[in-house]
Symmetry: D2
Subunit: 332 residues, 4 copies
């Protein structure tokens, strides 16, 4: 039968997951939702026509929940993973699992002890363009990876209050790029060198954070990755990956808002990039769910594992140290 | 309150409309559906959680239907428009209204007599790229339109049986391009010169049809439009529009399936175009409904009118005559 | 030894040919030049360090002239071809050979009688992008050609005085496109349907000419070609060719002036197209000479033949008749 | 009158300069050449029709030499600059001036003492696309520069013997990118962090060199630059620059060999990049000479100064130290 998913947390991202899952993913439906803020749960429950549980515990105890989607704030992820694992549910968890390695390990140990399927929400792996870059490495077209370039820029910086609890740019934003570097090369990261600056929001200094960063990674296989991040790209949500190898290169370019152009004596004009991450990654979010559902249906390990959730956190913490200590930091 | 729409016909296109309307269009919902094939209606009713009416008459008589979406086969459109108009419902009708001008006029007269809002489903006008071409004409960027180029190619030819009842390539396929030519230039067509060939499906000769065509239009304002059609583009669904004017040009290019590329010594490789019209035009179908709902909410005339439904049929009939008589044909 | 070329006419185009030939084409050099306007000949002779002949006859009689490049005004081409053929020289002649079929046939008969190598200057065949389109037809990638689209737009209209003696847009401008249609399809043209308008220079009416045109060709193999021309593209020199076939399509896109772009919140901006035909086609002009020199060296027939010079004139004359008589015209 | 240039060294690069200068740069001509290998000098002298001097001293003593182009091997540059300066000649020198800062300073002191015009051959500044990136910074379109990305890849690695005397990848190859980073930002570099690997030619280890590198620069104005280099890009000569600023971004993309494309069911295919630096940068080399000639004519300082020659060497030496010592290195 269909996979019945209980969604924990229906804020902006949780609601998006619930809608996608319930309406567009074959073989699955949302059976229950819960949110600490009851009116939000009620609204989404009505909209989708699904049951609302009064508590996390009630949702986890329900018979009609095969898997849970953890879409709450980061600081609750570990407890929810532990509880869901003990309840024997398959788990999808939004990234990051935690900002603390020991806490994360506690969660992952619970998953392992329970033997439940687990997938971490690195949605960009499922973007068709980024996935085509990985595919060109896997099938040998690119050859042995030598240099990876990743650009990742948000259209607007978050508020200072958000930044204070975000773990800093490397855990909040670059973490996606650390995952991408591992994904496209298929090789672990052995050292990190980070540089950062405050060029956009000087007030982020209060949170000890930067808004502009360049990070260099060395991989186990000798590949070098350069990542550049900005909290504000005036022209839209800029997300590009390039792998250069012994035989060629593969890249994912930015989509434009549409394909219309204008040419005059002043030159050619095309529209800017989509500004919102959902516009860019809807197809990826959908494919992410399809992969989770298919893995559970077929009894396979979901494609983005607990180890994939842990490694980027370790890299991100090392990047923070590298920035503070102005030196490369090894991951051992 | 919300606009309550009754959907008549839930085959492939009707079901797509029902899903989009019900789930993604703010301010509207599907309140009832009907299909002559009861199991189809039942399936969609269950899926969306909406009521199924046993007959067209029942649907038109229901209190909770403010507007109807006519998504049945072309030969039923006129009768349904007349009935819906007499029932005082706002009407959205899939193109074409009819393959016969007199019949079409009967339908449009009923609409006018009833004074109900009416919109014809030329969805491509709502594609952001094609719409940007029109916008560049309206805002003067392109200047006075002089030449329009329209390419329109399907990835796969329809079956011969479909072709027999389609009215021929000019009424079935080029009709969208005739609408586009009027839309981007803002000028009526005064003469048509058509050439065609059978290059893909020789058996279409049995239906008196061609599968490859080039049509030239002269507009009232002196602009020339060239349209080329193919029933089979091996590389995907190819849909492009270009307007050249006194100050510049505007064009809608084809989107690729995704933005990944590969470069090797053999050159650069990018993915092909989407193959299915829904992949290309989902955003347009959605925007089409949003425009209909907004027009009704605000008491404005819907943006694609009865006259917009009629003119392309007249052009298409003239194109057929031009092809048969091997000469330009005037529309007077 | 090197091929020694005598250049007849060193106006703008002749001087360009002389410079390219003398400085950049291996295996050839300009040995003599002549121009009816002596100061022009003297200037180019000094610049290149080559001998100046006082008359055409003197140049044709010189021992150090193996081939001639005829770059004078169109109305002198036939006499010069006849004289050069009788002098036993290999001949390169700028297009068009003549505006009159009987005159052209007289020239071509002289060439045939003398048995001298002859090449007509349809330079666009040697553009790497257009040549790649032809190559994709020849090697089967595109499959059987079904539709060809050719756009050809000049950045600025010529003066009325020039237009009066040009033979009209079809013989002056579209003639390149008629050649391209034959080149990329490898198939002769059997009928022509032309439409035109005056949208840019109303005064061209005095010369009986149009400045905007759409022409449809039917080829022997069933392929349809649509050509659109404008005497004025505000955004530069627009020259594109597309062949659609049973397996795919091949196209030559417009180059931009350079590859720099800018992205802001207002969108993406790229430079316009080159405005001058020499900027666009220098590589083609060079390759054209290399092909001529190589053919003579190897004893092969030069790649653009007398027949290739004749056919586009016949098509152009038929296009003029089609425009005047408002009907398709057959070439029989 | 015309600027008379004496060319010292007519190997591959010197010959290219001589041909461009003599034939395509208005207001200048090559008056004399010299090469230690007499047959090379004789061949080029004959080809261009210019005098050959027997020695550097003879060329520098000649009355008909206003300026010299130093195109010999790097180890001779300093002596030739000193001698030319003392002879009162304007100087164009190929990069790098020297691999040693003290030696370079000796040369630059001689230039300053003599008060002669001096230009260093960072040709990429004159590429229209890279120049458009700089222009978008200067005119404020990009806003305050925050991140610069530079990719620079050669199609083929040089022989080991060349590498032994090249000063290493940072002085031989990245030096262009260090110049570009200063050029597009208009800001000096204050620290360098380099990482490198041997992924293409393991034998370069014998020369203590790497073939793959990622370098991060910090600029005085707070901007971060990331540079990635490879000695071998299978798909051609890859040279791209991007500046991201507070208002937008500007980038120079790679040109393709030509603009032809093919689309089939397998996707879209386009040609690879030009493989040879002369193919990519001919226009830049020409513009470089035009700028030198114009500056001398108008009595202005040539646009790429002695300081522009020195700074990239200092950055390159610091990059080498950073790589060896595995830490960021400051330039003070």
């Amino acid at each position: 039968g269909e996979l019945r998913v209980g969604v924990l947390g229906v804020g902006r991202i949780g609601r998006m997951h619930a809608e996608l899952l319930h309406r567009q993913v074959g073989g699955a439906r949302v059976s229950r939702i819960h949110d600490a803020y009851a009116p939000a749960a009620a609204a989404v429950g009505t909209q989708l026509g699904v049951a609302v549980s009064d508590s996390t515990a009630a949702l986890l105890a329900a018979d009609d929940v095969d898997a849970v989607a953890i879409c709450t704030s980061t600081d609750t992820h570990v407890e929810l993973i532990v509880a869901a694992a003990q309840a024997g549910k398959a788990i999808f968890c939004e990234k990051p699992i935690s900002l603390d390695l020991a806490e994360m390990d506690r969660a992952l140990a619970a998953v392992e002890a329970a033997g439940v399927p687990f997938q971490i929400g690195f949605n960009r792996r499922f973007d068709p363009a980024h996935a085509s870059v990985r595919a060109a490495v896997v099938d040998g077209t690119v050859g042995d990876p030598q240099i990876v370039r990743i650009s990742s820029r948000d259209p607007e910086p978050p508020p200072l209050e958000y930044v204070r609890h975000s773990g800093g740019i490397f855990l909040d934003m670059t973490i996606h790029d650390f995952d991408m570097a591992r994904f496209v090369t298929g090789s672990e990261v052995v050292s990190v060198s980070a540089q950062g600056a405050l060029r956009i929001r000087p007030e982020f200094a209060e949170a000890g954070d930067v808004d502009t960063a360049v990070v260099t990674l060395q991989h186990e296989n000798g590949c070098l990755t350069t990542i550049d991040n900005s909290r504000q790209a005036a022209y839209g949500y800029d997300q590009r990956v390039e792998v250069h190898g012994s035989r060629g290169m593969a890249a994912s370019e930015d989509p434009r808002a549409h394909t219309g152009i204008v040419r005059t004596a002043a030159g050619e004009h095309a529209p800017s990039l989509p500004h919102f991450f959902v516009d860019r990654y809807t197809v990826a979010y959908l494919a992410q769910w399809q992969a989770f559902v298919a893995a559970l249906r077929d009894g396979r390990t979901p494609p983005v594992t607990a180890a994939d959730g842990r490694a980027p956190l370790a890299i991100g913490l090392a990047a923070g140290r590298s920035l503070r200590e102005r030196r490369p930091v090894s991951l051992a």
